[in-house]
């Protein structure tokens, strides 16, 4: 918690592997802050990660994602699983601050478990404590795209399974993060627009499982029908045409306490489909590629910023301003400079 008496990353990692939750919390903070510490966590976690089922859950604000995740977590814990949740909420673009309110909807999932794993008398299954971490987007270009996969890898390496990522499906980064999961769950609700809206949103194209939440509300069946229609079209062009998988639509209502076990079943079915068709490796490759690409882009972005503020860069920018050179010719010069400096 303190920055002056920093325990070393390997020490923290060892403690975290042993189940020390304070150490897990601190490692996640290091991951989130980035830099050499985050790289070190990545190296350690990489060796132990790779088995967890990574589930992304997204949808519009207020769709009931956190409530649903809370229910899923409760069921998973009762089944003897050890889930972790990464709940991503937006930061204020003005102050960088954030109010992270997802936990409040997941309370039940924490209450149902004692402070230590206990043996359930009847079933004999071990009940693990879930780990829920809130993360703010912090508004940094691409920061989220790097912090999330790292945090997920850490959870995976520490033996959490499944690892659930919850994001508000509003930005491309958030959608990408969920799209890079093994199974992407998109939560829809009544009253959010018609079939055209459903077709328009890029969110729906990444879905492996649809949940029509608040199914007790009027209009829930209309949403289902609109989604079915959209899925019918994807028989022609889309996931079903390409790989023969049609995302199921699950009706759920937290009010009536229905649907959450069906969501878990649909998520498990999707994982089984991925494994039986060899597509899980494909997802892993895609995920690794997405992360490496984001990392490279960040590294290059930093170099570009450095170059532009270097004496050479400043001088060239002045020439463009004075009308002596065109932006394209200056770009060419700077690109050559950048490539030369990379080679050296």
């Amino acid at each position: 918690m303190t920055t002056r008496t920093k325990p070393s990353i390997p020490d923290l990692y060892r403690d975290a592997r042993a189940g020390n939750r304070l150490a897990i919390g601190r490692l996640l903070t290091r991951v989130e802050r980035g830099g050499a510490d985050a790289d070190a966590v990545s190296e350690l976690a990489h060796a132990d990660a790779g088995s967890a089922h990574i589930v992304g859950i997204t949808g519009a604000p207020g769709a009931g994602k956190s409530t649903l995740v809370g229910e899923l977590v409760s069921h998973l814990v009762a089944d003897g699983r050890r889930p972790a949740v990464l709940a991503v909420d937006p930061s204020s673009p003005l102050t960088g601050g954030a109010i992270l309110g997802d936990r409040i909807r997941m309370e039940g999932s924490q209450d149902s478990v004692s402070t230590r794993p206990a043996v359930d008398g009847d079933a004999g299954t071990v009940r693990h404590k879930p780990f829920i971490r809130s993360m703010a987007t912090r508004g940094h270009s691409g920061g989220l795209a790097l912090a999330v996969p790292l945090a997920v890898r850490l959870f995976d390496a520490l033996g959490f399974d499944p690892v659930i990522i919850e994001t508000v499906g509003v930005g491309q980064v958030e959608v990408d993060v969920v799209g890079a999961a093994d199974t992407a769950v998109v939560v829809a609700t009544p009253g959010m627009g018609d079939a055209v809206q459903a077709n328009k949103a890029g969110l729906l194209e990444v879905a492996d499982v649809f949940v029509v939440n608040k199914a007790d509300r009027p209009g829930a069946n209309d949403v289902r029908r609109d989604l079915e229609l959209m899925l019918d079209l994807s028989k022609v062009t889309g996931q079903e045409a390409e790989i023969g998988y049609r995302p199921p639509i699950v009706m759920a209502s937290a009010l009536e306490g229905t649907g959450s076990t069906d969501v878990l079943a649909a998520v498990a079915d999707h994982l089984a489909f991925l494994e039986s068709t060899g597509r899980r490796d494909e997802r892993r490759r895609h995920r690794a590629r997405t992360e490496i690409e984001a990392r490279l882009a960040q590294a290059l972005h930093r170099r570009v910023a450095d170059l532009l503020s270097s004496p050479t860069g400043v001088a060239l920018l002045k020439q463009v301003e004075a009308g002596d050179q065109s932006p394209t010719s200056v770009t060419r010069t700077l690109l050559d400079e950048l490539l030369a400096s990379t080679e050296s």
């Binding site: 918690m1 809130s134 703010a136 940094h140 790097l146």
Partner: protein, 168 residues
């Protein structure tokens, strides 16, 4: 309103939230992000007056902090569990039902028992004569009605800085 704005402008000039932050590491492949204070806010026990806590959540957010909002009817265990998982820098409790002499020391004890040094800041209705009792019990600060947005944010920063100084 004006106070919130002042709190904002202060954060901007305050720079990194923590003492001893490492400078950006150019060689790292993960970009560094600002260290922001993370504060868990909760109502402990059966106290339904959460408007004050919501105002404080907004004040701290506008001061650039990350607020993990737990809201009503929390227990010392649930707050410790959240502070642990969220690696919180501070815990903020809002108390309006005269339970502070029992609940606030219980919170401080629960934090210590979990092996954490997270400071506990109390706000709400605490009679003047009880303030010293709470401070003696290990509460970092007690904020009463009339505390400005700037004072609230600064009190949290000071509490975190003091906890870090005593832990090192």
């Amino acid at each position: 309103m004006g106070e919130i704005e002042r709190a904002n402008s202060e954060t901007e000039s305050a720079g990194p939230e923590r003492v001893g932050d490492a400078p950006a590491d150019d060689a790292a492949l993960t970009p560094t992000q600002d260290a922001r204070l993370r504060v868990v806010l909760a109502k402990l026990g059966l106290d339904g007056h959460d408007r004050g806590l919501k105002v404080v959540a907004r004040i701290l957010r506008d001061a650039g902090m990350e607020v993990i909002y737990l809201g009503l009817r929390q227990t010392t265990d649930s707050i410790v569990a959240a502070a642990e998982q969220e690696d919180a820098d501070a815990i903020g409790l809002s108390m309006h039902n005269a339970g502070h002499l029992t609940l606030a020391p219980a919170m401080v004890a629960a934090v210590a028992e979990a092996g954490m040094t997270t400071p506990v800041v109390v706000g709400g209705i605490v009679p003047e004569e009880d303030v010293q009792t709470l401070l003696d019990a290990g509460v970092a600060t007690v904020l009463g009605p009339g505390a400005s947005a700037t004072e609230v944010a600064q009190a949290v920063r000071d509490a975190v800085a003091a906890a870090e100084a005593s832990a090192s």
